[in-house]
Amino acid sequence: MLAVTDLRIAYGKTEVVHGVSFDVAAGECIALIGANGAGKSTILKAICGLIPPSSGDIRFEGRSIGGLPGHAVARLGICMCPEGRQMFPEMTVLENLQLGAYRRRSEDISGTIDEVMTLFPRLRERASQLAGTLSGGEQEMVAIGRALMAKPRLCIFDEPSLGLAPKVVDEIEETLMKIKNLGVTILLVEQAVSMALRVADRAYVLEAGEVVASGTSQEISNDSRVQSAYLGG
């Protein structure tokens, strides 16, 4: 479904991603793991059209999308749940969810809203509250729900557990499993490596802008380098 080939990205003259390749098949859940500054978020931004790649190819369902403007990428059905939640803080929870369905604005979206609220019953209680006034965990739910509202073909999660309490991280993990079981294709970027590997089918390990290991979650969990670097074992 998504194929990234020899992707290079530079900020000004400094190249930060040096020829990364990976792919995501329909229905799969893929994790990109790695330390802070490994280039994970940069890759996601390039996929979503927020920054242009300097070379390499990004293909979505056979079509090259590298360099397409962000809103055009979103309209193809690639949906990102961004790092730091990125609420529309002075809109209500309901409005945030509605905006998630912006690409489907000619359709009736009330059914989808109902599905998302069933997934996150807390959001139903808070529907008319301003998103900026929610707790971090609740905001994460809004962000995930908002992404699902688009009925995405590919759903990208950027550090969904960042800055949340351990109990909330467990809830997020549960939610991701549910979404995966709905059949949504997922690209997950996480620093909480053990959590990511529990959710994902396959994983790629990034270090300093390069893929240093890849395999099924099981293989990666057993990789000694990964264990020493990320799993504290």
């Binding site: 962000g70 809103h71 055009a72 949906c79 961004p82 990125q86 809109m91 409005e95 690409r103």
Partner: protein, 289 residues
Amino acid sequence: MLVDLLQQLFNGLVIGSIYTLVALGLTIIFGILGIAHFAHGSVAMFGGYLTYFLILALGIGVFPAMALAMAGGALLGVVLERVAYYPVRNAPPINSFIIALGLTLIIEKSNLLLFGVDQIIVPTGFNRIFTIGGLALPELRIYILLTAAALVVALTILIQKSWMGMAVRAVAQNRAAAILMGINVHAVSMFVFALSSALGVAAGVLVGALFAIAPGVSGGLVVKGFAVLILGGLGSIPGAIVGGLVLGVSETFASAFVSSAYKDVIAFLLMIGVLLVKPEGIMRRSVAR
């Protein structure tokens, strides 16, 4: 005495409703693009002139002429956004600041070339005066209040209820997230300029009907508009509505109860006062609610 008080309140609300229309256009542009669009006053004057000539040339009433001029203004707004502001969207803010100043001169001089130096008054034919217990309510002023109110309601519905309005608010609150939702921010920019310029044109027509349109009027109008923005909170729609009315009524009351010499000072006193006490404006900064 009470009659005089009510009379002054009515006078102030009429003027304030015009300030509100000017400030609304400025505030939505500021909210989306962070641009101080100084040329807004000249766009308003352009609309007033255009309406005047449409009335004379086509022999239509003031409201149809105003609707046509607002459509023309919307088009002008899109052109301004594309030609002037779009090319510097990624440059440092000083660029758009300088462009805003340049645009002001260009539109002001274009008005002179297109419409001449003579003062014009938009003819309305609204000459009746209603009197209720000593309170004089000229028909024209009532229509001005109603027109401004109708436009404010229409704008509120548009911004609150339509998909485009939601997109406008989304871009104002979180530009990057808006892009991820599939919102085309360039289209939103153009839409905002069209909307803002159409509102500006309406304000220009009302100024032209109540007072007059002449070279030099736009400067005063835009200063009042920015005073309202500071007063109500930069980028805030409710702030612009409340701020405009507050400014209009304060000016009128200052003339009436302090001294007419301080009428124009009052805008600045209010601005300084708000900046000292509540720098974010009397309403929160947001296009949201």
